[in-house]
Subunit: 153 residues, 2 copies
DNA sequence: ACGTTTTCTGGAACGATTCCAAGTTGCGTC
DNA sequence: GACGCAACTTGGAATCGTTCCAGAAAACGT
């Protein structure tokens, strides 16, 4: 488990080789690219599509950009991945799904980290006046400076 | 005040013609385009840059795309406007600044509405573990369906 | 009236992502 | 073990919102 310095609280339950089963359980074929994408996101947190392409290529030798995008979409759609897109930055993907956690984004370098919300499980999930909207998700993004960027103007 | 069916809580204080003073107070020249942009956003809430371009052109006859983008940046930088960018949608601008309010975005049509957070003034503004980040803003976005889109599959 | 700032026109470029078509590979099932 | 469909490949072009460029003209505030 040395690759999992801080194991996510999310119950995605799969250990490396079991990603195949995870995919099948979700009704998806367990293909090379898909397994490699999951493995890549096991190591890289909040990786961009580009990060994933590179990681997958290092892992299994080659993969087309489209295959990776397709996979990211399929896995996100199946609920195996979560997608977040900080304003002004490319989308980022993570395996931590199902728990309601939020993100801090560094204004300077764009680094992203996870944060658990203070306010219990479902934070501001019930706004007072919803304007008639049916709400299914509350997304909280904190903006600031990461430790590195804070220590230089 | 018929244009202000629900006057924003934000104390931006300016009535139509006083936008010029508002600009000067912010250290900006009160130019035609800038005043027109403010006026446009008085009517249109959560307008895209494109919406603003069209509104400004209807208002003062003509304006270049760049002038509007420049203005939106200048005014946002001066704190007269707030910019929000829902994932997968173009940026939107609004005059309601200084209060901490949040947004609902319709997954289907992209419509945006304001919401006040249930949890008092500074909602999830103090996350438990900030990972060493210095946080200056908490942005909350609710996702769901607007009344219109909810009433058709 | 002057100097500075802003806006203009018109164009090209950007980055992330999507889409295309047609051919190949490789899963999973029978 | 073979078959059929889903997934992947290559290579290219296109999208959209936004930014950047340069030089000239206009407009603002002192």
């Amino acid at each position: 488990m040395s690759n999992h310095p801080a194991a996510p609280a999310a119950p995605h339950g799969a250990r490396h080789a079991d990603d195949e089963q995870l995919l099948r359980d979700a009704g998806l074929r367990a293909t090379g690219v898909r397994v490699a994408v999951l493995r890549a996101l096991d190591r890289l947190q909040h990786a961009t599509a580009d990060d994933v392409v590179r990681a997958v290529r290092t892992d299994i030798g080659s993969a087309s950009v489209q295959a990776v995008y397709d996979t990211l979409h399929a896995l996100t759609g199946a609920g195996l991945l979560r997608r977040m897109e900080p304003a002004g930055h490319p989308a980022r993907y993570e395996r931590r799904v199902g728990d309601n956690h939020h993100h801090v984004v560094c204004r300077a370098c764009g680094a992203v980290a996870d944060v658990d919300c203070t306010v219990g499980q479902a934070p501001c999930l019930t706004p007072s006046a919803t304007q008639g909207f049916t709400i299914d998700l509350a997304e909280v993004t904190f903006w600031g400076l990461c430790p590195d960027c804070a220590s230089r103007p």
